[in-house]
Symmetry: C2
Subunit: 182 residues, 2 copies
Amino acid sequence: MGDVAARAGVAKTTLYRRWASKNELVVDAVAALFDEHLELPDRGSLQADIEGVVLRFAALLERPETKTALMAVVAESTRDDALRDRIRSAIVDRQKSLVLLGRERAQARGELPREDDPEVAARTADLIFDVIAGAVVHRTLVSAESVDEEWARTFAGVLVGGLGSATGARTPDGLNSSPSGV
Amino acid sequence: MGDVAARAGVAKTTLYRRWASKNELVVDAVAALFDEHLELPDRGSLQADIEGVVLRFAALLERPETKTALMAVVAESTRDDALRDRIRSAIVDRQKSLVLLGRERAQARGELPREDDPEVAARTADLIFDVIAGAVVHRTLVSAESVDEEWARTFAGVLVGGLGSATGARTPDGLNSSPSGV
DNA sequence: GCAGTTACGCTACGGCTCGTAGCGTAAGAG
DNA sequence: CTCTTACGCTACGAGCCGTAGCGTAACTGC
């Protein structure tokens, strides 16, 4: 934090006059990075849109400062509810709009059916968000392997296929079996 | 750490005679929890197997100590390569065997085709692992919503559907469209 | 030009936690 | 009965977050 103040050319006390704690500053910094680097250009298909955002997100996470800062505040948010809420409103909820946009486009293209029940729609959007963000974060940070175009393509293929085939979410446990291999 | 020593009824110095640092101790503790609580009983179908392990994993992660400890070391591993390797060998690689077991069972049931190319098989297993672990972690820690049976069912449905439909990983970008809604 | 408010810089410090040094002591090996 | 091994204990150094207190510059309104 002394370092941050030094690099900003201000005194440490000034930082604490603008942010109540280090964590809040880091959350705002990470949120700004996310807002700046994440977007969802229309690449013509749901699969391509997912590939694009996955690669953008991975590129952001592979920067050492980004991943260190993000994981530090997420880790602390497990024992600080106020921090968790701040992360949600400043980062998570904002980026969730990308999922809504992507679904809207896919529905306009006819790639995904429209869902009338708004609660089901919201739950599905949350699921998609958790799957995309979780998978990319896990791969880059825990598995520590790079997210390249091939991985993005395979991942997007699985997700698109899964969304197309099984989401009505009735009770049965096996409406599976299909072509092409694992 | 003084607390850990106190609760263990030993002196703090004794802890440092067995573990070189706090992080190593935490990694070993989390690894033991994972080994103890994660297993993959045969529930009759790939979908049900995934649901089961997702619920087990989520139950483990919802315990405050588990998630705090896990995320703390993962966060620090972003700036400590030795710690990252220790996490990989003590936790990640061990639990990855669950994916291999689940796939083996699914192949024996005929739910998934066998894959001859071992490299493709390994990459797919890694992908499945990242998707399952990442999605559950992201939902419980970032989205901060509970993983209940309904979520597990929907998630497993999407994953099974995705694995069944699109994984040969050719170039095309749209072999989707199907029944049941998003 | 002048008082009053606002915001900043700076030093010093308290508090917390990780990790270590040094020494005394109990238990098992031969 | 010695020797080794492992443990307990106190004290301490180091690093970082966050704050107190005070001096100082700039900007406002008249």
